[in-house]
């Protein structure tokens, strides 16, 4: 077992280093690491064919509770539910983007607040958080940042503060629901939580934090958001929101599909449909209604992210099966002395600090078995630890430009349009905001659950 443990750790660390170095595409890194784990750790060191079978978890597809779940269940190995759900949502989002939904929504809201800078700033922050509850934050920021720049050029204000605030709120909104951020999907599907469970726990925390964040950013950026030219802009000369709609029929269909996805997600603890079923169903409906465009939507799906997840789950499975994650749990147990307050604080802040610098998806996937072990040995309810982990990984990612995908997309869109955002510029406001939200979250978890 010792050799298996050593190799599992080496493969995991090498994978992390290669992801950070960005020499090889990250999906190839995790896939290669996953294959190595299967061959070296499970095959050569452990000689355990059953463990390989369990990690690949293909049999999950034929289990009824993969599609229709009455009782809570936990999954091991490749978390196919996460992968199917993410793939399904990717197809839906591609359909919505193609029809012009996101651009229309952004323009519509800007017009509803009469294209005034401060109201746009506040409404875009809220919109960013709300959309990110259901749609991946990459897509939300891709469109929101682009429209923000367009409006900034027309209305003559600096778009950087607005983009930074949107990025922060997208990460915050993502923490509110099970499908908002990949770590939440992993935590939710691994531990058998529903969309509603997240909404009533991390969602409440995100809601409170959002209020503080809007106030914080308002005061932090108020001066920078003043129009640079001072001239009054005639909004009748701005492009009409309806011009964003590329095809009215596709627009209505994609809006209806999105509404259906939201309803199915909110009610999935009542209907017992799993996120895998919802993801697959939404993808099938999108493709059927897309007609001849279906192939284009499939081609646009980010398969690399899906491959990234598959490899990652295998590597983390290697750490779990060889008992390495038990050592990490034991370490946290020892330094906290079993005190739930210290345990929660460690998980929340370490998750946040780690997520600020490394991809939060591998981190969350690694930590799920750790919190399971901690729950079993310390008596702290697994739910409390799960919400702590979710908030830590989701919110912590906001602190630096590389902490979360939304940050990278936001800063990239800004730079490509002539507004480069350096690390210093980014961290000056977003790192303090992250610390404030983490402090609020710590207090929230302490008061509500302990």
């Amino acid at each position: 077992m010792l050799a298996a443990q050593i190799f599992a750790v080496i493969i995991f660390l090498a994978m992390f280093v290669l992801i950070v170095l960005d020499k090889i595409e990250r999906h190839l890194v995790t896939l290669g690491s996953g294959i190595l784990t299967l061959i070296v750790v499970f095959g050569i060191c452990m000689r355990d064919g059953k463990a390989i079978w369990d990690i690949i978890a293909i049999k999950d597809f034929v289990k009824s509770d993969f599609w229709y779940q009455v009782a809570e269940s936990e999954s091991k190995g490749i978390n196919w539910a996460t992968i199917v759900f993410i793939a399904g949502m990717m197809v839906m989002v591609e359909g919505m983007a193609k029809a012009g939904f996101f651009r229309w929504l952004c323009m519509k809201i800007a017009f509803l607040v009469k294209c005034k800078t401060i109201p746009i700033f506040v409404t875009f922050m809220i919109m960013s958080a709300v959309l990110s509850m259901f749609i991946d934050s990459i897509t939300v920021i891709m469109f929101l940042a682009a429209v923000t720049i367009e409006l900034a050029q027309l209305l003559k204000f600096n778009p950087i503060p607005m983009i930074l605030a949107e990025v922060f709120c997208a990460n915050l909104g993502g923490s509110a629901t099970m499908c908002g951020d990949p770590p939440n999907i992993i935590i939710g599907t691994s531990l058998g939580f529903s969309f509603f469970d997240f909404l009533m726990n991390t969602g409440v925390c995100a809601g409170i934090s959002l209020i503080f964040s809007v106030v914080f950013f308002y005061f932090a950026f108020k001066k920078e958001l003043v129009s640079t030219s001072g001239e009054v802009v005639d909004i009748s000369k701005l492009p009409d929101p309806s011009s964003a709609i590329t095809n009215k029929k596709d627009f209505i269909i994609s809006t209806l599909i999105f509404a259906l996805a939201v309803v199915l997600l909110v009610t999935h603890s009542i209907t017992h449909l799993t996120v895998a079923t919802i993801g697959l169903g939404i993808a099938v409906i999108t493709l059927l209604t897309a007609g001849k465009n279906a192939l284009e939507l499939i081609k646009k799906t980010d398969y690399k992210t899906l491959v990234f997840f598959i490899g990652l789950f295998i590597v983390v499975g290697g750490l779990e099966e060889t008992g390495i994650l038990e050592y990490i749990a034991e370490f946290i147990r020892t330094i906290s002395g079993g005190n739930p307050y210290i345990t929660i604080a460690i998980i929340l802040w370490i998750s946040a600090i780690a997520s600020a610098f490394v991809d939060n998806i591998p981190f969350a996937a690694t930590m799920v078995p750790v919190i399971q072990s901690l729950a079993a040995s310390t008596g702290i309810p697994i739910n409390t630890l799960a919400w702590t982990l979710a908030i830590g990984t989701d919110v912590g990612g906001s602190a630096t430009p590389i902490g979360a995908s939304a940050n990278v997309v936001g800063t990239s869109v800004a730079a490509k349009n002539g507004y480069p955002i350096s690390w210093g510029r980014y961290c000056a406001k977003l790192a303090p905001a992250t610390i404030i939200v983490l402090a609020i979250s710590t207090a929230y978890i302490f008061f509500r659950y302990l």
């Binding site: 690399k304 995908s405 800063t411 002539g418 507004y419 955002i421």
Partner: protein
């Protein structure tokens, strides 16, 4: 050949930029080098200083991340803007000379591309840099090595084959052999032959 694109890669101090400028003059073509910075500045509203700071510079990997083709690195974004710019110019049918910017690879699929890489002997390069930048010998050598290292890292990050690898270029020429003037004459002949093909 109605369109010609001359891509000039170069070692620092080899006189590659001067050669590119002279070739542009002889063939009456626009040249994109520092001018590329101005063009991008005009297009985006960034200052030339902002772009220059990150021009042909490798990103710092440890503080950069890439997600679905998006990168938070300012160096990456400026590089991509430049790649887009020269690509669009090439697609528009324009003939031009471009210095560096991985142009030999980024425009590889254009038949009219004529890619050159200018190298030089270290003593000659040192002599040139000492004169141009008013440096002593060791300062000049350090400066050359630093600049070349930066260009190499930039190139090798954006392109699969290595900077200076002869497989990337039509010709790799040592400007110290014939001197800069005669190297230009030699290259002019080659380009004319290519154009007449």
């Amino acid at each position: 050949m109605s369109q010609i694109i001359i891509s000039v890669g170069r070692e620092f101090g080899s006189g590659g930029r001067v050669i590119a400028e002279e070739l542009a003059k002889r063939f009456e073509l626009p040249i994109y080098d520092r001018h590329l910075i101005t063009e991008i500045a005009n297009r985006t509203g960034m200052t030339t200083e902002q772009i220059e700071k990150h021009d042909e510079a490798p990103k710092t990997r440890i503080i950069s991340r890439r997600v679905r083709g998006y990168s938070n690195s300012i160096e990456d974004n400026i590089a991509e803007m430049q790649f887009d710019f020269i690509r669009k110019k090439a697609e528009s049918g324009e003939s031009f000379v471009v210095v560096g910017r991985c142009s030999e690879s980024k425009l590889r699929d254009f038949d009219c591309l004529c890619s050159l890489f200018i190298i030089g002997d270290m003593p000659c390069k040192i002599k040139r840099i000492m004169k141009l930048y008013d440096m002593n010998e060791s300062e000049a050598e350090d400066f050359i090595q630093k600049k070349d290292k930066k260009r190499k890292r930039y190139h090798n990050y954006h392109v699969k084959l290595h900077w200076g690898d002869s497989r990337l270029y039509d010709l790799t020429v040592n400007s110290s052999r014939l001197g800069i003037e005669k190297t230009i004459d030699f290259l002019e002949g080659y380009i004319k032959a290519r154009m007449g093909k």
